[in-house]
Symmetry: C2
Subunit: 319 residues, 2 copies
Amino acid sequence: MNRRERVSEVMRTGQRRLIEAFERVDGFGRFLEHDWERPGGGGGWARSLEGGRVFEKAGVNMSAVHGKHVPPSLAKQHPEAEGKPYFATGLSLVLHPLNPFVPAFHANFRYFEVGEAGDEGELWWFGGGADMTPNYPFEEDPVHFHRTLRALCERHPQADYPAMKETCDRYFTVRHRNEMRGVGGIFYDELSPPGQGSFETDLAFTEDGLATLIPAYLPIVERRKDMPFGEREREWQLYRRGRYVEFNLVYDRGTLFGLQTQGNIEAILMSMPPYARWEFDYHPEPGSAEARMLEFLQPRDWVGVHAEVAAAHSDGTGR
Amino acid sequence: MNRRERVSEVMRTGQRRLIEAFERVDGFGRFLEHDWERPGGGGGWARSLEGGRVFEKAGVNMSAVHGKHVPPSLAKQHPEAEGKPYFATGLSLVLHPLNPFVPAFHANFRYFEVGEAGDEGELWWFGGGADMTPNYPFEEDPVHFHRTLRALCERHPQADYPAMKETCDRYFTVRHRNEMRGVGGIFYDELSPPGQGSFETDLAFTEDGLATLIPAYLPIVERRKDMPFGEREREWQLYRRGRYVEFNLVYDRGTLFGLQTQGNIEAILMSMPPYARWEFDYHPEPGSAEARMLEFLQPRDWVGVHAEVAAAHSDGTGR
């Protein structure tokens, strides 16, 4: 197998396992298959679940596209790729849980090749990331999430958790609100610089990353999914999802790239929440859990000394 | 009074009359006052109604801002203004009705001055527009709306309805969906080219335009607001509002300009609907009213011969 076939196999396996894990925790909803072809070359395997018991809306999509000339947005980031043929494959997932106490979750793993060298590209690189968006300030949730991602990075020398965490904090900022979309995670444009890394070790990180999504996120789902909630929590969740929409439509590079290039609109906008709301000049009651959540939306060290102390003192209620 | 004071007076009067008219038809909701100041110069008088009987969420905002150098987005459209001081004032309104059979409505009237000449600008021009976004295909509603706007234009020789209608069709297109946000209306960047029009006649058009919003829209509200509806119509309304959000956050120049320049976020995002939803790969049942609505979302002659025939044959149910 050439490189792109090996990456595709890892991603397909990852997609299948993630879907199985999410269906198991949901216990009711099923992912439906929506395969699509891209007129310019390639296509995708979208998998979408709606109306589950745990997940109100979820998507786990894979796509693989290729073309004769790298698109402008890619050339902008990688000038050395301009005008060359390219291949890009990726797996993206977005989960919007029903229970407002369960965080939303997003992850993306991608692989690029540009140029031609036999049946492979001259240059290749991996990108990716994972971030979590809670609505309520349970300290132990981001602490667990970040610790699991830090441990992933520590298993792979080329993965720098502090740098990837900082990139994530910066990337997932709703700039016009001066707040993050959630509590961050990790994000990297290039796991190793194009042409300078080891394909084997970078593929191994990607495989481990895909597998690590489950222990990073599902324990949090398990401990929150049956917490009782009412209209107040639901309305706050929908309000926070409005910010999620603002981020994705105004700032998210992948979304804007997809819309500009007339990609598969439904797969691109799979990230949209099932319901969202906006209210003019809304401010949660000072001191409430909703107001305290805003403190979580600024960059914070979730795994250092501060986090250890916070986790030890947390009463686990988040309210 | 200098020019900017005269425009401000016309807009303030327009704002007051529109608010009175919308409160009267609502019969319950009241507009609350949210005044704000802009650190760089100027401010705004936002008026917001939420939870009305007819209007689920409505905003009628006025702002007047000035600065030493025209912002980049304005200079891009008007290179002759680059580097000069500017003054901009405008009135924007967005109405999101509760009943899915009542169209959403948006209008904006704006005035710019650049350069300095005594207490006025060297160059000035007016911009504006009004567009309507129904969820159900009642032919007589866009026919009435467009006829009223055409009659407005016919009262003012400098206003070219066909050109303004075409600009509106083009502007309010959700390009990644290849559909319009609604049934359009009129839109113009410059009522007369900067420095070439008559201030008096352009101000008179603006004043007449503000007054015409009421007969253009309220009769449609009156005939739809008490139509019974259920979950199906509500869900379709929220789905269509998702497209409204997509347009405003991805394409609307005013929204993006506001977000980029860190304007008053709440006033800028007043246009967001109270609730919206997204569903993966949703298609209304063929032949249903919801499916037929999609035919309304392509540019169409609403006032010509075709429209006359359609209106005469309409059974008025739209379903």
